[in-house]
């Protein structure tokens, strides 16, 4: 765990979970940040994923499950249950990121990531109650595990709370 006071920082292909009064932070580009929160227990977690699917990726080394939406989201849900006793039925989601920062790239990875995240969360029956995605600039998000609110700053814009 990387923390300063009550702050957890999430890097790429990573999951961090915790409870109030922790804050979980990350910075995103084409990656998607998935924030899951259990209102009653005041616990939550964040997944910083980079790709939609783990299928068909030629990889070196073991599978880093948090890289992908199809493996990372189930792991986040599982960790919240096992470590914090937060049942899936009480979880809601907020999603961020999926920007197209580099122009001239043919595939829109951010958009693909967002679509995959929405599909997988729907399959698990977790409702997305807020989202801020797309565009061409990076996102900095700060997830407050006391309130479930996420402070989202898109580069060059004023922060908004969701």
């Amino acid at each position: 765990m990387t923390m300063t006071d009550n702050v957890l920082i999430v890097g790429i292909a990573d999951i961090k979970t915790g409870k109030a009064p922790f804050l979980i932070k990350t910075t995103l580009g084409s990656c998607i940040g998935v924030c899951l929160y259990h209102q009653e227990k005041k616990v939550g977690g964040m997944l910083h994923l980079m790709l939609a699917s783990s299928e068909g990726i030629v990889r070196t080394g073991e599978l880093k499950r948090a890289k992908f939406a199809d493996t990372g989201i189930p792991d986040l849900i599982h960790e919240l249950k096992v470590k914090h006793d937060a049942d899936i039925s009480g979880l809601s989601a907020k999603i961020f990121g999926g920007a197209k920062v580099l122009q001239g790239v043919t595939s829109d990875i951010g958009k693909n990531n967002e679509e995959a995240v929405r599909t997988i969360l729907k399959q698990f029956g977790v409702k997305i109650i807020a989202s801020k995605t797309g565009g061409e600039k990076g996102y900095q998000i700060e997830f407050d595990l006391d309130t479930g609110k996420v402070l989202c700053k898109i580069f060059g814009q004023e922060p908004v709370e969701l």
């Binding site: 890097g11 790429i12 292909a13 990889r59 580099l102």
Partner: protein
């Protein structure tokens, strides 16, 4: 399969030669005493690398360049936003403080420093190892440092959990210019790196 420690030595050598050459051209470009020194060459986990940059934070202007050819590499150079204004003054030989706004000229200062340094590195491959490499046109982005870095490593990070970071430090006489420069070997450069191992 080539011994990993020999490939590391090859990378260290390439990194040192590249940075030395880049240092010479950078000094010429800013027309004052300037040095780029090789800070470190290390293999690190992608999560750890991006966590550290996220903690440091900051807003930067960065130039991305692909080095294409026999040894594909990715190159990234970033300057803190305020330092890009100073960089513009140094290159244009204006009194420091003359450039006050971030505009197309300031962004092109970063663009061109990236172009010239990436070219210097490809020139080393060509002259010292007879390996053909050329830079692509730079892409300039103004964003969070962590966002730029994340996009930079994404080509490698999809398939690998570790990345090789070649990090350097810039020093400009009388000015505190904060700059980060990264060189990242891509899949497909292993054969060339093995070839270099055998020639050193």
């Amino acid at each position: 399969m080539e011994d990993k420690s020999r490939i590391s030595k090859a990378i260290q050598l390439i990194a040192q030669l590249s940075i030395d050459r880049a240092s010479q051209v950078f000094s010429k470009m800013v027309k004052c005493g300037a040095k780029i020194s090789l800070e470190k060459v290390y293999l690190t986990d992608i999560t750890k690398a991006t966590e550290e940059i996220a903690i440091e934070g900051g807003e930067v202007i960065g130039a991305y360049i692909d080095l294409v050819g026999d040894a594909p590499f990715k190159f990234l150079i970033t300057f803190e936003t305020n330092d890009s204004l100073l960089l513009t003054d140094l290159i244009l030989q204006r009194p420091t403080g003359s450039t006050k706004e971030l505009d197309a000229l300031t962004q092109s200062a970063v663009q061109e420093v990236g172009n010239i340094l990436a070219s210097a590195i490809s020139n080393v491959f060509s002259s010292d190892f007879q390996i053909k490499m050329k830079p692509s046109p730079p892409q300039v982005v103004h964003d969070f440092a962590a966002t730029l870095f994340e996009e930079y490593i994404s080509a490698i990070a999809a398939e690998s959990n570790e990345i090789l970071i070649i990090e350097s430090q810039f020093m400009v006489v009388r000015h505190n210019l904060k700059c980060a420069m990264y060189i990242l070997p891509l899949k497909g450069s292993d054969k060339t790196l093995s070839y270099i191992c055998n020639t050193i």
